[in-house]
Amino acid sequence: MTFTKQEKIACVFLLILGVFGPILFPGYTFQIAVLWIMILFAQTWDLLGGQMGYNSLGNIFFFGVGMYICAITQIGLFYDVGIYTAAHGADTAQFSSDQYYIGIFSGLFFAAIGSAILSVFLGWAVFGLRGPYFAIGTLGVALSAGELFGAWEWVGGGGGIALPVFPGSGDAKSIFFYILCFLSATMTFLFLKWLYSTRFGLALNAIRDDEDKAESMGLHTLRYKTIAWAISAFFLGITGGLFGNMTGFIEPLEVAFPTITFGILMVAMCLLGGKGTFWGPILGAVLFHFIKEATWIYFLGWQWIALGVIIILNIIFFQQGIMGYLQEKFPHWFGIEVEDKSLKQTNKVENSQ
């Protein structure tokens, strides 16, 4: 794992934003925390979509599953989940601060592990699909999960679950979750940076370039694909648990499985920044978050239309994304050596003489 000079600058910039952001702009702590979640979304999507060439439209599934597992663990450790959800968050249950912290950390742990295990089973079902079928199949998984959780009364059904209340002031809550979001995004960042520098990263790229060929060269492609998906699910599960606790209320269609909003945003962010590059998704997530907040403020009511138009324009005119464009124009910035074709030809001529 090595960083070039530009990458070091970007890392320092992100670190400064992460540490001093909430100190300088305390009113925006929640927004900056969501920015870290968005970066995590984009990076975990890019692990499959960009590096492995499997464009999933249903990665949000693990986000929602993690959210539910975390919530059930938090409540289930101390109360009966069915009774708790049936009361719709009325004051029947109180969590002491010890109970809260034990609950949330074990909840996040189980959310991560549970999502990863689920992804292995799901991978068995969907990884025989390629290209558009994979995209549609995963979209179906996420949509049906939303419907199924909406019909499952034990976890609150369509009415949702109110999560345990944070024991402390509102400021303490936002700082607590901010730190957790920042840590999980950093963890994902470092882990993926390391992963792409290993043999595993090369295998993923080989699958993207030509899966049949990769398989005939002896790569057990299904194993690689499943592990990659499990990694992605692991981090998404943690994020889901965090996000559920940040909002304090879980509802299947809008919060836990927002397939049409967050689920598509993670794809759009990667495409804007440039999929298949390490920094593209991060850049895309940062830009997209700012665009989103700006459209929310200045085009209220039109924000989704603006978002749809951005996706279309991005897809049609600017498919390689920002990093892809830069890589094409200035390859030496990325340490890519481009052989000068004219030079090569003259050499050849000289050699033949």
């Binding site: 464009n55 025989g128 995209a135 179906g140 949509l143 749809g308």
Partner: protein
Amino acid sequence: MSDNFSLLVIAPLLNVQLLLDGLFIGAIFALAAYGLALVWGVMNVKNLAQGEFVIMGGYFAWYAGEQGFHPIFALPIAFVAMFAFGWIVYKVIISRVVDKDMFTSLLATFGLAIVIQQGINLIFGPEVQIAESGFETGEFFEGSVTIAYIKLISFLICCLLAFTVVFFMKKTRIGQAIRATSQDARAAKLMGINTEKVYAFTFALNSAICGVAGVMISMIWVIQPFYGVPHSIRSFVVVVAAGLGNLPGVIVAALGLGIAEQYGGFILGAELQQATVVGLLLAVLVWRQIQSKRNRQAVK
């Protein structure tokens, strides 16, 4: 759940009711699915905005009803307007993604779907709407089977439109050009077919068919700006199950889907009706996978 199931055994006429409702709805699904298969087969574009086209057509009928006209008069208007809309969409968006990889078209049409949904939402509001047709409801078997006559009319219109489209594809010059292009676009171009025009026409025809389907949906069911996604999923279920260029297959699969959905909604409860559709999509995909695994292939 099991109560509803035993109810079906005790009262066999309920089955007749569900079957008929399924057929009437399924006929409309067949139209939208045929449009999807047409576009998919001819220009290899997977249109995720299919359901939104349907809902758009529905709003024509609803708006006509609001203005005091009978919603069925909106049929030709919806056809023509959606044809024009499809042509414009092709020229602006689809023509730029035709020769790109398939995920591109999927995402571009998804962006289009978001724009259409939200546009309708801004113009007409998020309420669930129904276009009142004012036709009576016929009762059979002493009232245990009811058929709204509008469902019968819409079924007939569906059949008529389907026959017209098939005749059009088989007999007219442009229909032949479309089929030639879907077989081999390059060869068709060499033979002097303006493939660009054929693509535009195909896409416009698809959205016109969807518009007509939407008019019918608004009269016999409900429309809402965000109800497009399940319609898109339905079209995909049908096309994936039937395969491309298999018109009888599309019809059978669509009718089957309509019936399965009615039964699913009845037995599992109305809140799981949509989950039935998506569950069927997954089932079909897994089934196709097992099928091709036997030949050591992946579903591409």
